[in-house]
């Protein structure tokens, strides 16, 4: 469709949103990601029946964990759309981009970067 979405969004493709687990989401933040979101099929349309429901539950779990450890829960989100819905994909990407910009960078990013630099230097 040749629609553009913000370059801040890096896509990781999975066979089903249900493949994404809590540890994957947390790891992304550990590594310094500012925000993570899962885009799954519309509820009721998952090819594997419940994968997208599981994904949503995991997102909710991570939202809670993040707020328990001092980060903002809104940095992780769940979105549902039909796989052919290009315009909606773009809309969600833009929405997430704006949300994260408002929240600011991941507070631990600086520390992660410094640590990586030290490790590379050593």
């Amino acid at each position: 469709m040749r629609l553009t979405y913000p370059s801040s969004v890096k896509i990781v493709r999975v066979p089903c949103s249900g493949k994404v687990d809590v540890q994957h989401l947390l790891r992304a933040f550990e590594k310094g990601a500012d925000g993570v979101y899962i885009v799954g099929c519309k509820e009721g349309e998952c090819h594997y029946k419940y994968g997208n429901f599981r994904a949503r539950k995991r997102v909710e779990q991570v939202q809670k964990i993040l707020s328990d450890v001092g980060l903002e829960g809104e940095r992780v989100q769940m979105y549902n759309l039909s796989s052919s819905d290009g315009p909606l994909f773009v809309k969600y990407a833009a929405e997430m981009d704006e949300r994260i910009r408002k929240l600011g960078p991941n507070p631990i990013k600086a520390r992660v970067k410094a640590k990586t630099r030290n490790q590379q230097a050593a």
Binding site: D21, V22, Q23, L26, D68, V69, G70, I108
Partner: protein, 222 residues
């Protein structure tokens, strides 16, 4: 199995907030089945703690390890070489495993990462229910296989009480009345004669009341 539930992260942080090297220790048995303390939960907690400490501006190393069990000496020995590197161990095993770990590594603080709840079964994924309270003198033969001690809120042996209503316990509609269940089962087994007999006063000395218990099998000890 023993059913446990994850402690809130905030509570665990309180225990370890001044540590520099932490080992999160999981268990591959009961707590894995009830999704509270297995390898996956260890990973999630470790991740959460790393994010927490990084956000506090602290450099804290969080290691992850899951043992087969924490209630047997042999498995706990597996961390003998590395244990003293840590300021604290957060054990996600049940209360038994946490204590056994603490006894074995008594110079390192061992903190609980879960609340141990009861002995129960998986009714469905995400729902674990209590079935046994280890009274030490099992009476299931007389109650159609349903335990009045763990499933009756008043552990009545000659039930039901007057509060049983439409098959539910008086304290909560979602809890089935144990005695309703027992009666239904005895009826199905055509053994209502067991219900008619007066259940004698229970000897609670084999229960918690008698003090910390042990089982000794001299036939297997040399």
């Amino acid at each position: 199995m023993i059913v446990a539930n994850k402690k809130p992260v905030g509570e665990i942080i309180e225990y370890v907030k001044d540590c520099n090297k932490i080992l999160v220790l999981g268990c591959n048995e009961c707590v894995t089945v009830c999704e509270a303390g297995g390898k996956k939960e260890v990973g999630v907690l470790a991740s959460a703690l790393r994010i927490y400490f990084a956000n506090q501006g602290k450099d804290v190393a969080i290691a992850e390890r899951t043992l087969e069990r924490q209630c047997d000496h042999e498995y706990l020995e597996e961390i003998r070489d590395i244990a003293d590197q840590y300021d604290a161990v957060v054990s996600l095993a049940c209360g038994v495993g946490i204590q056994f770990t603490a006894e074995k590594y008594h110079s390192i603080p061992v903190y609980p990462g879960v609340n141990t709840c009861f002995m129960g079964a998986t009714e469905q994924r995400g729902l674990w229910v209590e079935r046994c309270q280890a009274c030490g003198t099992c009476v299931l033969a007389y109650t159609g296989g349903i335990c009045p001690i763990s499933r009756c809120a008043k552990r009545i042996l000659n039930g039901p009480c007057g509060g049983s209503s439409k098959g539910s316990c008086e304290i909560n509609k979602e809890i089935p009345c144990a005695w309703q269940l027992i009666i239904d089962r005895l009826k199905a087994l055509d053994r209502l004669d067991l219900y008619e007999k007066l259940f004698q006063i229970k000897d609670w000395s084999t229960d918690r009341a008698g003090g910390p218990r042990k089982v000794k099998r001299e036939d297997v000890q040399i």
